[in-house]
Symmetry: C2
Subunit: 288 residues, 2 copies
């Protein structure tokens, strides 16, 4: 199998993280303090705990200070908003990350909107979404930013390329489309209501799959020689019947036979998401 | 010619304006004051003068108070920002419209960002762009909003339809794409860097042309039975050699032979833009 060249997200992420670590050292040599990221985790969601642990470890390696704020799942929305307000005011804090999902009694949109836009390293605040949508400088969500970095590292200039983004979430699909439009690709946004998704996908030089459905995109959906960025991280039962494994939104083995370049899951987009969080935190510190 | 059914933007706009006038009367009967729109015009651009005059006349007819602030082209940016700040504070002003383009010595983005987002009836403020991009309620730019209204009045539910937006400006193309994605169409954004625009356009059930190039979109670019929304307003020399006439971005006669529905220029999108400005002003007043 696998005529396709695998895009090694882990290697790209390690290079980006090394560059960030260098920049942090250089800034400190010039008299700046170390960048500082406040990480807020509410409740006991096991996946969130893993993500937060990985983010904090990555900060540490890059010389970025991370300040963890763990709270019980019973935390009230008012208490969380008070914490965010305190972090907004704290001049020792450059970036604020509130790990999602939040417990159901808390309005995530209200919390995200309460973060100071210039500390919003996740890029989820409406002001940053607007800056991205209108071509102004701001914070771009880490996952689509990581996808763009992988595409540009693999393909160089993507101006004029035909791209499809499958999925229209605020966290991946929509900002991904804005980034690709900004990079002068011709961009189609498809989603669950789209008719004949295989045919739409077959037109594209670049396929970004972000739907959260295991192995939905099949090999025969792809144009030969295309580049596939798989944002999905889905845990499925192993064929052997015992244990689970991670798969993306793309049927990898099939797709790798058709695509010229493809990201694996795990080891593709995931590591770049964390590296871009560090990049955003460094940017926040540089602006502060 | 013209198998296509012409979408009468003027008639749609008159109905919308009548509805708004009714709503203004009803709100006043319930004790509210009349909605008020501040219109700022800097300099002597002849097209801007016509637009402003038309907007003010439409306000008047709908029972909306318009307060015109005309300034010389020599106005400094600081003076304009001071005027905007004053209008932001003025509790008698619901909506603020700064007519574009501004003279070249003024940074339009800075002025737009200075308008209070909740008075930004043009929907150009990054906060409103972000609300639109993330599916939150806010002010949507008048031209794409008018286009969506015409599409929904003509086609009903557009969920699953394949749409192409030609042009990626902040004023039309990008917000139009966000609106169409929100309405569950499959949306392609094409632009000057796109390859084979005729072929891309031929796929689409809905074509929104917003490039500012006279009659660029030809009849043979269109899928038979599609719906065409022509945002272009281009003044060209008459074939007779004397005088000028207005044409859109679509070659109307050719396109009308292929499309099922098409907006004319003038009398299509233009009137809806003004009607949607009134709608946004009423919305601002209702929220105030």
């Amino acid at each position: 199998m696998s005529l396709g060249q695998i895009i090694d997200g882990k290697a790209h992420a390690l290079r980006l993280r090394a560059d960030i670590a260098q920049a942090v050292i250089a800034a400190q040599a010039a008299g700046a303090r170390a960048p500082a990221l406040a990480v807020v985790l509410v409740g006991e969601d096991p996946a969130s705990q893993v993500y937060v642990r990985n983010k904090i470890a990555a900060c540490h390696e890059a010389g970025i200070i991370s300040i963890e704020h763990r709270r019980d799942a019973t935390l009230s929305q008012a208490e969380l908003l008070a914490l965010v307000a305190e972090l907004n005011r704290d001049r020792q804090v450059d970036g604020i990350l509130v790990q999602l999902p939040l417990p159901p009694h808390i309005d995530s949109a209200a919390v995200i909107s309460a973060i100071a836009p210039d500390k919003d390293v996740d890029g989820f605040h409406p002001v940053n979404a607007g800056r991205l949508a209108t071509g102004l400088d701001g914070f771009v969500p880490c996952t689509p930013l990581g996808c763009l970095r992988l595409l540009e590292a693999t393909l160089g200039d993507i101006s004029g390329a035909e791209a499809i983004v499958i999925g229209r979430s605020n966290i991946v699909g929509r900002p991904m489309a804005s980034l690709l439009i900004g990079a002068s690709a011709t961009v189609t946004v498809a989603h669950s209501r789209s008719r004949d998704l295989p045919e739409l996908t077959r037109r594209a030089d670049i396929v970004v799959a972000a739907v959260g459905r295991p192995e939905m995109v099949r090999g025969h959906w792809l144009k030969p020689g295309c580049t596939v960025i798989d944002v999905g991280i889905n845990r499925v039962a192993k064929e052997s019947g015992t244990g689970t494994r991670l798969v993306g939104d793309v049927a990898f083995a099939e797709a790798a036979d058709v695509a010229a370049h493809i990201t694996p899951v795990p080891g593709g987009v995931g590591p770049m998401t964390i590296a871009c969080l560090l990049e955003n935190t460094l940017k926040a510190a540089s602006r502060a």
